[in-house]
Protein backbone atom coordinates (compact mmCIF):
# COMPACT_ATOMS: atom_id res chain seq x y z
CA UNK A 1 0.00 0.00 0.00
CA UNK A 2 1.40 3.34 -1.02
CA UNK A 3 0.23 4.84 2.24
CA UNK A 4 3.32 3.71 4.16
CA UNK A 5 6.97 3.56 3.15
CA UNK A 6 8.78 0.25 2.71
CA UNK A 7 10.50 0.36 6.10
CA UNK A 8 7.17 0.87 7.91
CA UNK A 9 5.45 -1.87 5.90
CA UNK A 10 8.32 -4.27 6.56
CA UNK A 11 8.22 -3.70 10.32
CA UNK A 12 4.43 -3.96 10.29
CA UNK A 13 4.45 -7.29 8.44
CA UNK A 14 7.48 -8.64 10.35
CA UNK A 15 7.67 -6.82 13.67
CA UNK A 16 10.64 -7.42 15.98
CA UNK A 17 10.51 -7.97 19.75
CA UNK A 18 6.92 -9.15 19.85
CA UNK A 19 5.69 -10.82 23.02
CA UNK A 20 5.89 -10.62 26.76
CA UNK A 21 9.03 -11.15 28.86
CA UNK A 22 8.41 -13.72 31.58
CA UNK A 23 9.17 -12.38 35.06
CA UNK A 24 9.75 -8.97 33.53
CA UNK A 25 11.43 -6.31 35.67
CA UNK A 26 8.96 -3.69 34.44
CA UNK A 27 5.65 -3.45 32.60
CA UNK A 28 4.13 -0.37 31.01
CA UNK A 29 0.95 0.13 29.02
CA UNK A 30 -0.42 3.14 27.23
CA UNK A 31 -3.63 3.84 25.32
CA UNK A 32 -6.80 1.74 25.28
CA UNK A 33 -8.85 -0.21 22.75
CA UNK A 34 -11.48 2.53 22.97
CA UNK A 35 -8.92 5.08 21.73
CA UNK A 36 -8.03 2.71 18.91
CA UNK A 37 -4.50 1.91 20.02
CA UNK A 38 -2.88 0.34 23.05
CA UNK A 39 0.68 -0.80 23.67
CA UNK A 40 2.08 -3.00 26.39
CA UNK A 41 5.84 -3.17 26.88
CA UNK A 42 7.82 -5.46 29.19
CA UNK A 43 11.46 -4.86 30.10
CA UNK A 44 14.42 -6.85 31.39
CA UNK A 45 16.81 -4.49 33.17
CA UNK A 46 20.39 -5.44 34.10
CA UNK A 47 22.66 -2.98 35.94
CA UNK A 48 20.56 -0.02 34.88
CA UNK A 49 20.65 -1.08 31.23
CA UNK A 50 17.68 -2.37 29.22
CA UNK A 51 18.78 -5.90 28.38
CA UNK A 52 15.57 -6.83 26.58
CA UNK A 53 12.24 -5.30 25.61
CA UNK A 54 9.14 -6.92 24.15
CA UNK A 55 5.83 -5.43 23.10
CA UNK A 56 2.23 -6.24 22.31
CA UNK A 57 0.18 -3.66 20.44
CA UNK A 58 -3.48 -3.27 19.50
CA UNK A 59 -3.45 -0.70 16.74
CA UNK A 60 -2.99 0.27 13.15
CA UNK A 61 0.01 -0.36 10.91
CA UNK A 62 1.85 2.74 12.17
CA UNK A 63 1.31 1.79 15.80
CA UNK A 64 2.73 -1.69 15.26
CA UNK A 65 5.70 -0.50 13.19
CA UNK A 66 6.46 2.26 15.75
CA UNK A 67 6.29 -0.27 18.60
CA UNK A 68 8.77 -2.52 16.86
CA UNK A 69 11.15 0.35 16.08
CA UNK A 70 10.94 1.83 19.57
CA UNK A 71 11.75 -1.44 21.34
CA UNK A 72 14.74 -1.90 19.03
CA UNK A 73 15.97 1.61 19.84
CA UNK A 74 15.91 1.19 23.63
CA UNK A 75 17.53 -2.23 23.93
CA UNK A 76 21.12 -1.71 25.17
CA UNK A 77 20.42 1.79 26.44
CA UNK A 78 20.52 2.91 30.07
CA UNK A 79 17.16 3.88 31.58
CA UNK A 80 18.06 7.57 31.37
CA UNK A 81 19.08 7.19 27.72
CA UNK A 82 15.89 5.28 26.91
CA UNK A 83 13.78 8.06 28.44
CA UNK A 84 15.36 10.46 25.94
CA UNK A 85 14.02 8.50 22.97
CA UNK A 86 11.19 10.66 21.65
CA UNK A 87 8.43 9.94 19.17
CA UNK A 88 10.35 12.20 16.78
CA UNK A 89 13.35 9.83 17.00
CA UNK A 90 11.07 6.87 16.28
CA UNK A 91 9.50 8.75 13.36
CA UNK A 92 12.90 9.60 11.90
CA UNK A 93 14.08 6.00 12.24
CA UNK A 94 10.93 4.86 10.41
CA UNK A 95 11.57 7.35 7.61
CA UNK A 96 8.36 9.21 8.45
CA UNK A 97 4.65 8.45 8.70
CA UNK A 98 1.70 10.03 6.86
CA UNK A 99 0.43 13.22 8.56
CA UNK A 100 -2.66 11.87 10.33
CA UNK A 101 -0.60 8.93 11.64
CA UNK A 102 2.14 10.83 13.42
CA UNK A 103 0.34 10.51 16.74
CA UNK A 104 0.76 6.71 16.51
CA UNK A 105 4.46 7.07 17.31
CA UNK A 106 3.56 8.85 20.57
CA UNK A 107 2.13 5.56 21.77
CA UNK A 108 5.53 3.87 22.05
CA UNK A 109 7.22 6.87 23.68
CA UNK A 110 4.51 6.91 26.35
CA UNK A 111 4.50 3.12 26.87
CA UNK A 112 8.29 3.17 27.38
CA UNK A 113 7.94 5.97 29.93
CA UNK A 114 5.22 3.99 31.74
CA UNK A 115 7.44 0.89 31.89
CA UNK A 116 10.49 2.76 33.18
CA UNK A 117 8.29 4.56 35.70
CA UNK A 118 7.10 1.12 36.87
CA UNK A 119 10.73 0.02 37.25
CA UNK A 120 11.68 3.19 39.14
CA UNK A 121 8.71 2.79 41.51
CA UNK A 122 9.56 -0.85 42.23
CA UNK A 123 13.23 -0.09 42.82
CA UNK A 124 12.98 3.30 44.54
CA UNK A 125 14.89 5.07 41.78
CA UNK A 126 14.81 8.81 41.03
CA UNK A 127 15.33 9.31 37.30
CA UNK A 128 16.02 12.67 35.71
CA UNK A 129 13.95 11.76 32.62
CA UNK A 130 10.84 11.04 34.70
CA UNK A 131 10.66 14.49 36.30
CA UNK A 132 7.18 15.88 35.71
CA UNK A 133 5.92 12.55 34.37
CA UNK A 134 2.33 11.82 35.32
CA UNK A 135 1.39 8.17 34.74
CA UNK A 136 -2.31 9.04 34.81
CA UNK A 137 -2.21 11.89 32.29
CA UNK A 138 -4.86 11.73 29.61
CA UNK A 139 -4.02 10.98 26.05
CA UNK A 140 -3.84 14.03 23.79
CA UNK A 141 -6.83 14.71 21.64
CA UNK A 142 -5.36 14.32 18.21
CA UNK A 143 -8.50 14.13 16.16
CA UNK A 144 -9.36 16.27 13.15
CA UNK A 145 -12.13 15.77 10.63
CA UNK A 146 -11.12 15.58 7.00
CA UNK A 147 -14.23 13.85 5.69
CA UNK A 148 -14.64 10.69 3.63
CA UNK A 149 -14.69 10.06 -0.09
CA UNK A 150 -16.94 7.20 -0.94
Amino acid sequence: MAMYNEKVMDLFMNPHNVGEIENADAVGTYGSPVCGDMMQITLKVENGVIADAKFKTFGCGSAIASSSMATEMIIGKTLEEALKVTNKDVLDALGGLPGPKIHCSVLSEQAIKAAIYDYAQKNGLELEGLKGYDPNADEDDHHGDLGDEE
Partner: protein, 390 residues
Protein backbone atom coordinates in the same frame (compact mmCIF):
# COMPACT_ATOMS: atom_id res chain seq x y z
CA UNK B 1 -0.83 -12.82 -6.88
CA UNK B 2 -4.56 -13.39 -6.64
CA UNK B 3 -6.60 -10.17 -6.55
CA UNK B 4 -9.90 -10.20 -4.70
CA UNK B 5 -12.07 -7.10 -4.72
CA UNK B 6 -14.62 -7.05 -1.89
CA UNK B 7 -15.51 -3.37 -1.80
CA UNK B 8 -18.40 -3.14 -4.26
CA UNK B 9 -20.20 -0.63 -2.03
CA UNK B 10 -17.27 1.75 -2.53
CA UNK B 11 -17.43 1.43 -6.30
CA UNK B 12 -17.90 -1.19 -9.01
CA UNK B 13 -15.96 -1.89 -12.20
CA UNK B 14 -17.64 -0.72 -15.42
CA UNK B 15 -19.12 -3.70 -17.23
CA UNK B 16 -17.84 -4.32 -20.75
CA UNK B 17 -21.30 -3.86 -22.32
CA UNK B 18 -21.56 -0.52 -20.52
CA UNK B 19 -18.15 0.64 -21.73
CA UNK B 20 -18.98 -0.45 -25.31
CA UNK B 21 -22.09 1.72 -25.14
CA UNK B 22 -20.07 4.74 -23.98
CA UNK B 23 -17.07 4.72 -26.32
CA UNK B 24 -18.65 6.06 -29.56
CA UNK B 25 -19.89 9.18 -27.75
CA UNK B 26 -16.35 10.33 -27.01
CA UNK B 27 -15.30 10.37 -30.65
CA UNK B 28 -17.55 10.03 -33.70
CA UNK B 29 -20.81 10.78 -31.86
CA UNK B 30 -19.44 13.72 -29.90
CA UNK B 31 -22.23 16.21 -30.67
CA UNK B 32 -23.78 18.61 -28.18
CA UNK B 33 -27.37 17.47 -27.52
CA UNK B 34 -28.51 21.11 -27.69
CA UNK B 35 -27.31 21.44 -31.31
CA UNK B 36 -29.92 21.13 -34.01
CA UNK B 37 -27.91 19.24 -36.65
CA UNK B 38 -27.68 15.48 -36.93
CA UNK B 39 -24.98 14.56 -34.39
CA UNK B 40 -26.64 16.88 -31.87
CA UNK B 41 -30.03 15.27 -32.39
CA UNK B 42 -28.42 11.85 -32.14
CA UNK B 43 -26.89 12.73 -28.77
CA UNK B 44 -30.24 14.04 -27.60
CA UNK B 45 -31.89 10.77 -28.53
CA UNK B 46 -29.22 8.87 -26.63
CA UNK B 47 -30.03 10.84 -23.51
CA UNK B 48 -33.74 10.18 -23.95
CA UNK B 49 -33.07 6.47 -24.23
CA UNK B 50 -30.86 6.46 -21.13
CA UNK B 51 -33.44 8.49 -19.22
CA UNK B 52 -35.99 5.82 -20.01
CA UNK B 53 -33.62 3.03 -18.96
CA UNK B 54 -32.90 4.70 -15.60
CA UNK B 55 -36.60 5.48 -15.12
CA UNK B 56 -37.48 1.83 -15.68
CA UNK B 57 -35.03 0.71 -12.99
CA UNK B 58 -37.02 2.67 -10.39
CA UNK B 59 -40.54 2.51 -11.84
CA UNK B 60 -40.58 6.21 -12.75
CA UNK B 61 -41.64 8.12 -15.85
CA UNK B 62 -38.69 9.32 -17.97
CA UNK B 63 -39.54 13.00 -17.44
CA UNK B 64 -39.15 12.45 -13.69
CA UNK B 65 -35.46 11.52 -14.05
CA UNK B 66 -32.79 14.24 -14.15
CA UNK B 67 -29.11 13.44 -14.70
CA UNK B 68 -26.58 14.94 -12.29
CA UNK B 69 -22.81 14.60 -11.84
CA UNK B 70 -23.01 12.07 -8.97
CA UNK B 71 -25.02 10.79 -6.03
CA UNK B 72 -23.60 13.46 -3.76
CA UNK B 73 -24.82 16.20 -6.10
CA UNK B 74 -28.29 14.64 -6.06
CA UNK B 75 -28.31 14.54 -2.24
CA UNK B 76 -27.03 18.12 -1.98
CA UNK B 77 -29.59 19.30 -4.51
CA UNK B 78 -32.56 17.55 -2.88
CA UNK B 79 -31.80 18.83 0.61
CA UNK B 80 -30.52 22.33 -0.13
CA UNK B 81 -33.10 23.28 -2.75
CA UNK B 82 -36.04 21.73 -0.88
CA UNK B 83 -35.03 23.49 2.35
CA UNK B 84 -34.70 26.90 0.67
CA UNK B 85 -37.88 26.37 -1.33
CA UNK B 86 -40.01 25.50 1.71
CA UNK B 87 -38.39 27.92 4.12
CA UNK B 88 -41.50 30.11 4.41
CA UNK B 89 -43.39 27.10 5.79
CA UNK B 90 -40.84 26.03 8.36
CA UNK B 91 -37.21 25.32 9.12
CA UNK B 92 -37.25 21.77 10.46
CA UNK B 93 -35.64 18.80 8.67
CA UNK B 94 -35.61 15.16 9.79
CA UNK B 95 -32.95 12.64 8.78
CA UNK B 96 -31.10 9.74 10.43
CA UNK B 97 -27.80 9.38 12.27
CA UNK B 98 -26.55 6.85 9.72
CA UNK B 99 -26.87 8.81 6.47
CA UNK B 100 -24.01 9.15 4.02
CA UNK B 101 -21.95 12.29 4.60
CA UNK B 102 -23.43 13.81 1.42
CA UNK B 103 -26.67 14.10 3.41
CA UNK B 104 -25.22 14.64 6.91
CA UNK B 105 -22.80 17.38 5.92
CA UNK B 106 -25.48 19.10 3.82
CA UNK B 107 -27.73 19.06 6.90
CA UNK B 108 -24.90 20.56 8.96
CA UNK B 109 -24.49 23.31 6.36
CA UNK B 110 -28.24 24.00 6.53
CA UNK B 111 -28.06 24.16 10.33
CA UNK B 112 -25.53 26.98 9.95
CA UNK B 113 -28.16 28.82 7.86
CA UNK B 114 -30.69 28.53 10.67
CA UNK B 115 -32.43 25.26 9.84
CA UNK B 116 -33.01 22.83 12.66
CA UNK B 117 -32.31 19.12 12.04
CA UNK B 118 -33.48 16.04 13.94
CA UNK B 119 -31.19 13.03 13.52
CA UNK B 120 -33.19 9.85 14.14
CA UNK B 121 -31.65 6.99 16.08
CA UNK B 122 -31.44 3.48 14.68
CA UNK B 123 -32.02 0.16 16.41
CA UNK B 124 -29.19 -2.42 16.70
CA UNK B 125 -30.29 -3.83 13.33
CA UNK B 126 -29.65 -0.42 11.76
CA UNK B 127 -33.32 0.42 11.08
CA UNK B 128 -35.22 3.48 12.27
CA UNK B 129 -38.20 3.38 14.61
CA UNK B 130 -41.23 4.66 12.65
CA UNK B 131 -42.88 5.91 15.83
CA UNK B 132 -39.81 8.04 16.59
CA UNK B 133 -40.12 9.49 13.08
CA UNK B 134 -43.84 10.27 13.52
CA UNK B 135 -43.13 11.85 16.93
CA UNK B 136 -40.34 14.01 15.52
CA UNK B 137 -42.60 15.77 13.01
CA UNK B 138 -43.65 19.28 14.04
CA UNK B 139 -45.59 22.10 12.40
CA UNK B 140 -42.29 23.40 11.11
CA UNK B 141 -41.13 20.16 9.45
CA UNK B 142 -40.57 20.72 5.74
CA UNK B 143 -38.38 17.81 4.65
CA UNK B 144 -37.56 14.22 5.62
CA UNK B 145 -34.53 12.42 4.15
CA UNK B 146 -34.00 8.73 4.97
CA UNK B 147 -31.57 6.56 3.03
CA UNK B 148 -32.95 3.39 1.50
CA UNK B 149 -29.92 1.15 2.08
CA UNK B 150 -27.01 2.00 4.35
CA UNK B 151 -23.56 1.98 2.73
CA UNK B 152 -21.62 0.62 5.71
CA UNK B 153 -23.75 -2.15 7.16
CA UNK B 154 -26.47 -2.57 4.55
CA UNK B 155 -29.62 -1.94 6.64
CA UNK B 156 -32.69 -1.52 4.42
CA UNK B 157 -34.99 1.15 5.86
CA UNK B 158 -38.80 0.99 5.84
CA UNK B 159 -38.89 3.80 3.27
CA UNK B 160 -42.44 3.08 2.10
CA UNK B 161 -43.82 3.37 5.63
CA UNK B 162 -41.68 6.44 6.39
CA UNK B 163 -42.80 8.17 3.16
CA UNK B 164 -46.45 7.46 4.06
CA UNK B 165 -45.93 9.23 7.41
CA UNK B 166 -44.37 12.19 5.59
CA UNK B 167 -47.25 12.34 3.12
CA UNK B 168 -49.84 12.31 5.92
CA UNK B 169 -48.21 15.47 7.29
CA UNK B 170 -47.67 17.07 3.89
CA UNK B 171 -43.87 16.91 4.26
CA UNK B 172 -41.51 16.38 1.30
CA UNK B 173 -39.69 13.04 1.38
CA UNK B 174 -36.26 12.28 -0.10
CA UNK B 175 -34.36 9.01 -0.08
CA UNK B 176 -30.73 8.34 -0.96
CA UNK B 177 -31.02 5.12 -2.97
CA UNK B 178 -27.41 5.03 -4.17
CA UNK B 179 -26.70 1.68 -2.46
CA UNK B 180 -30.19 0.33 -3.05
CA UNK B 181 -30.27 0.58 -6.84
CA UNK B 182 -29.63 -2.75 -8.50
CA UNK B 183 -29.56 -4.55 -5.16
CA UNK B 184 -33.13 -4.21 -3.90
CA UNK B 185 -36.28 -3.59 -5.97
CA UNK B 186 -37.22 0.11 -6.25
CA UNK B 187 -40.64 1.30 -7.36
CA UNK B 188 -41.08 5.01 -6.70
CA UNK B 189 -44.85 4.79 -7.11
CA UNK B 190 -45.11 2.09 -4.51
CA UNK B 191 -42.61 3.80 -2.19
CA UNK B 192 -44.39 7.14 -2.49
CA UNK B 193 -41.19 9.21 -2.30
CA UNK B 194 -40.87 12.73 -3.75
CA UNK B 195 -37.15 12.62 -4.53
CA UNK B 196 -34.62 9.82 -4.86
CA UNK B 197 -30.85 9.94 -5.47
CA UNK B 198 -28.98 7.51 -7.72
CA UNK B 199 -25.39 6.95 -8.82
CA UNK B 200 -24.05 5.00 -11.80
CA UNK B 201 -20.75 3.77 -10.36
CA UNK B 202 -22.42 1.57 -7.75
CA UNK B 203 -24.26 -0.38 -10.49
CA UNK B 204 -21.32 -1.15 -12.81
CA UNK B 205 -21.54 2.18 -14.61
CA UNK B 206 -18.97 5.00 -14.75
CA UNK B 207 -18.06 7.39 -11.92
CA UNK B 208 -19.05 11.02 -12.36
CA UNK B 209 -22.67 10.52 -13.31
CA UNK B 210 -25.76 10.32 -11.12
CA UNK B 211 -29.44 11.05 -11.28
CA UNK B 212 -32.32 12.35 -9.28
CA UNK B 213 -35.90 11.26 -9.46
CA UNK B 214 -38.27 14.15 -8.85
CA UNK B 215 -41.95 13.21 -8.68
CA UNK B 216 -44.05 15.08 -11.23
CA UNK B 217 -45.70 18.06 -9.56
CA UNK B 218 -42.76 18.61 -7.20
CA UNK B 219 -41.33 21.91 -8.43
CA UNK B 220 -37.88 21.55 -6.89
CA UNK B 221 -35.80 24.61 -7.84
CA UNK B 222 -32.49 23.93 -9.64
CA UNK B 223 -29.21 23.85 -7.73
CA UNK B 224 -27.09 24.50 -10.82
CA UNK B 225 -28.27 27.41 -12.95
CA UNK B 226 -27.34 28.10 -16.57
CA UNK B 227 -28.74 26.55 -19.69
CA UNK B 228 -32.04 24.82 -20.37
CA UNK B 229 -30.63 21.30 -20.25
CA UNK B 230 -32.36 18.49 -18.37
CA UNK B 231 -35.82 20.02 -18.69
CA UNK B 232 -34.44 23.25 -17.18
CA UNK B 233 -33.80 21.47 -13.91
CA UNK B 234 -30.04 20.99 -14.11
CA UNK B 235 -27.89 23.24 -16.28
CA UNK B 236 -24.65 22.22 -17.96
CA UNK B 237 -23.84 20.42 -21.20
CA UNK B 238 -24.91 16.83 -20.72
CA UNK B 239 -22.20 14.21 -20.23
CA UNK B 240 -23.49 12.09 -23.10
CA UNK B 241 -21.07 9.11 -22.95
CA UNK B 242 -21.55 8.75 -19.20
CA UNK B 243 -25.31 9.13 -19.48
CA UNK B 244 -25.34 6.44 -22.16
CA UNK B 245 -23.27 4.21 -19.85
CA UNK B 246 -25.55 4.89 -16.89
CA UNK B 247 -28.57 3.97 -19.04
CA UNK B 248 -27.00 0.68 -20.11
CA UNK B 249 -25.93 -0.13 -16.53
CA UNK B 250 -29.48 0.57 -15.30
CA UNK B 251 -30.94 -1.65 -17.99
CA UNK B 252 -28.65 -4.55 -17.01
CA UNK B 253 -29.30 -3.96 -13.29
CA UNK B 254 -33.05 -4.10 -13.84
CA UNK B 255 -32.86 -7.25 -15.95
CA UNK B 256 -30.58 -9.08 -13.52
CA UNK B 257 -31.91 -7.75 -10.20
CA UNK B 258 -33.56 -10.90 -8.86
CA UNK B 259 -30.78 -13.22 -9.95
CA UNK B 260 -28.09 -10.79 -8.75
CA UNK B 261 -29.66 -10.39 -5.30
CA UNK B 262 -30.11 -14.13 -4.88
CA UNK B 263 -26.53 -14.91 -5.92
CA UNK B 264 -25.05 -12.22 -3.66
CA UNK B 265 -27.13 -13.30 -0.66
CA UNK B 266 -25.97 -16.87 -1.08
CA UNK B 267 -22.30 -15.91 -1.39
CA UNK B 268 -22.51 -13.41 1.50
CA UNK B 269 -24.18 -15.90 3.84
CA UNK B 270 -21.61 -18.54 2.88
CA UNK B 271 -18.78 -16.08 3.59
CA UNK B 272 -20.11 -15.06 7.02
CA UNK B 273 -20.66 -18.67 8.04
CA UNK B 274 -17.15 -19.67 6.90
CA UNK B 275 -15.54 -16.78 8.77
CA UNK B 276 -17.44 -17.53 11.97
CA UNK B 277 -16.73 -21.25 11.66
CA UNK B 278 -12.99 -20.73 11.28
CA UNK B 279 -12.31 -17.68 13.43
CA UNK B 280 -13.51 -17.22 17.03
CA UNK B 281 -14.81 -13.91 18.41
CA UNK B 282 -16.24 -12.43 15.21
CA UNK B 283 -19.55 -10.54 15.45
CA UNK B 284 -21.84 -9.43 12.61
CA UNK B 285 -22.68 -5.73 12.89
CA UNK B 286 -26.36 -5.07 12.19
CA UNK B 287 -29.27 -7.38 11.51
CA UNK B 288 -29.45 -10.02 8.78
CA UNK B 289 -33.12 -9.70 7.84
CA UNK B 290 -33.38 -6.32 6.12
CA UNK B 291 -29.91 -6.11 4.63
CA UNK B 292 -28.13 -5.34 1.36
CA UNK B 293 -27.58 -8.77 -0.26
CA UNK B 294 -23.81 -8.32 -0.66
CA UNK B 295 -22.96 -6.68 2.66
CA UNK B 296 -21.04 -8.36 5.47
CA UNK B 297 -19.84 -5.98 8.19
CA UNK B 298 -17.85 -7.96 10.74
CA UNK B 299 -16.20 -7.05 14.04
CA UNK B 300 -12.96 -8.94 14.66
CA UNK B 301 -12.55 -8.67 18.41
CA UNK B 302 -9.23 -7.74 20.07
CA UNK B 303 -7.55 -6.40 16.93
CA UNK B 304 -7.62 -3.16 14.98
CA UNK B 305 -9.21 -2.74 11.56
CA UNK B 306 -6.54 -0.81 9.71
CA UNK B 307 -3.90 -3.42 10.43
CA UNK B 308 -6.35 -6.08 9.22
CA UNK B 309 -7.03 -4.06 6.07
CA UNK B 310 -3.30 -3.58 5.38
CA UNK B 311 -2.52 -7.28 5.75
CA UNK B 312 -5.47 -8.24 3.55
CA UNK B 313 -4.16 -5.75 0.99
CA UNK B 314 -0.78 -7.48 1.20
CA UNK B 315 -2.58 -10.68 0.12
CA UNK B 316 -4.34 -8.81 -2.71
CA UNK B 317 -7.71 -8.47 -0.98
CA UNK B 318 -9.51 -5.09 -1.00
CA UNK B 319 -11.99 -4.27 1.79
CA UNK B 320 -12.86 -1.23 3.88
CA UNK B 321 -13.08 -0.56 7.57
CA UNK B 322 -15.01 1.48 10.09
CA UNK B 323 -11.81 1.85 12.06
CA UNK B 324 -10.83 5.39 12.89
CA UNK B 325 -7.22 4.86 11.98
CA UNK B 326 -7.89 4.04 8.34
CA UNK B 327 -10.18 6.97 7.70
CA UNK B 328 -8.54 10.31 7.18
CA UNK B 329 -10.80 11.77 9.84
CA UNK B 330 -9.49 9.42 12.56
CA UNK B 331 -13.08 9.19 13.78
CA UNK B 332 -14.62 5.74 14.17
CA UNK B 333 -17.65 5.00 11.99
CA UNK B 334 -20.68 7.15 12.89
CA UNK B 335 -22.92 4.41 11.50
CA UNK B 336 -21.65 1.59 13.72
CA UNK B 337 -21.66 3.98 16.69
CA UNK B 338 -25.35 4.75 16.05
CA UNK B 339 -26.07 1.01 16.02
CA UNK B 340 -24.65 0.84 19.53
CA UNK B 341 -21.52 -1.13 18.58
CA UNK B 342 -18.92 -0.47 21.33
CA UNK B 343 -16.06 1.75 20.10
CA UNK B 344 -13.39 -0.91 20.69
CA UNK B 345 -15.33 -3.24 18.37
CA UNK B 346 -15.82 -0.50 15.77
CA UNK B 347 -12.03 -0.18 15.63
CA UNK B 348 -11.85 -3.85 14.64
CA UNK B 349 -14.70 -3.85 12.13
CA UNK B 350 -14.33 -4.54 8.42
CA UNK B 351 -16.84 -4.13 5.62
CA UNK B 352 -16.81 -6.81 2.93
CA UNK B 353 -19.12 -6.10 0.01
CA UNK B 354 -19.67 -8.79 -2.58
CA UNK B 355 -20.59 -8.09 -6.20
CA UNK B 356 -21.18 -9.59 -9.63
CA UNK B 357 -17.58 -10.63 -10.23
CA UNK B 358 -17.05 -12.26 -6.82
CA UNK B 359 -16.65 -16.03 -6.88
CA UNK B 360 -16.87 -18.67 -4.16
CA UNK B 361 -13.14 -19.27 -4.69
CA UNK B 362 -12.45 -15.58 -3.96
CA UNK B 363 -14.29 -15.95 -0.68
CA UNK B 364 -12.52 -19.19 0.25
CA UNK B 365 -9.16 -17.48 -0.40
CA UNK B 366 -10.26 -14.50 1.72
CA UNK B 367 -11.27 -16.74 4.63
CA UNK B 368 -7.97 -18.62 4.36
CA UNK B 369 -6.03 -15.34 4.53
CA UNK B 370 -8.22 -13.96 7.32
CA UNK B 371 -7.51 -17.02 9.48
CA UNK B 372 -3.76 -16.38 9.19
CA UNK B 373 -3.98 -12.62 9.60
CA UNK B 374 -6.34 -12.62 12.57
CA UNK B 375 -4.18 -15.20 14.34
CA UNK B 376 -1.06 -13.12 13.71
CA UNK B 377 -2.63 -9.86 14.88
CA UNK B 378 -4.20 -11.46 17.93
CA UNK B 379 -0.79 -12.81 18.90
CA UNK B 380 0.45 -9.22 18.65
CA UNK B 381 -2.41 -7.78 20.69
CA UNK B 382 -2.24 -7.11 24.43
CA UNK B 383 -6.00 -7.78 24.52
CA UNK B 384 -7.56 -11.22 24.36
CA UNK B 385 -10.67 -13.13 25.38
CA UNK B 386 -8.80 -14.39 28.47
CA UNK B 387 -7.50 -10.98 29.52
CA UNK B 388 -10.66 -9.08 28.57
CA UNK B 389 -10.84 -5.72 26.87
CA UNK B 390 -8.78 -3.93 29.53
Amino acid sequence: MRKVYLDYSATTPVKQEVLDEMIPYFTEKFGNPSSLYEIGAEAKETIMKAREQVAQLIGAKPQEVVFTSCGSESDNWALTSAAHWKRAQGNHIITTKIEHHAVLHTCQALEKEGFSVTYLNVKPDGRIDLQELADAITEKTILISIMMVNNEMGAIQPVKEAAAIAKKHGVLFHTDAVQAAGNVPIDVEELGVDMLSLSAHKIYGPKGIGAMYIRRGVALPPLIHGGAQEMKKRAGTENVPYIAGFGKAAEIARRQLAEHAERLTELRDYFISQVQKNIPYVDVNGGMEHRHPGNANLAFNFIEGESLLLMLDYYGISVSTGSACSSKSLEPSHVLAALGVPVEKIHGSLRFTIGDFTTKEDLDYTVECLVKIVEKLRALSPISAEKGWN
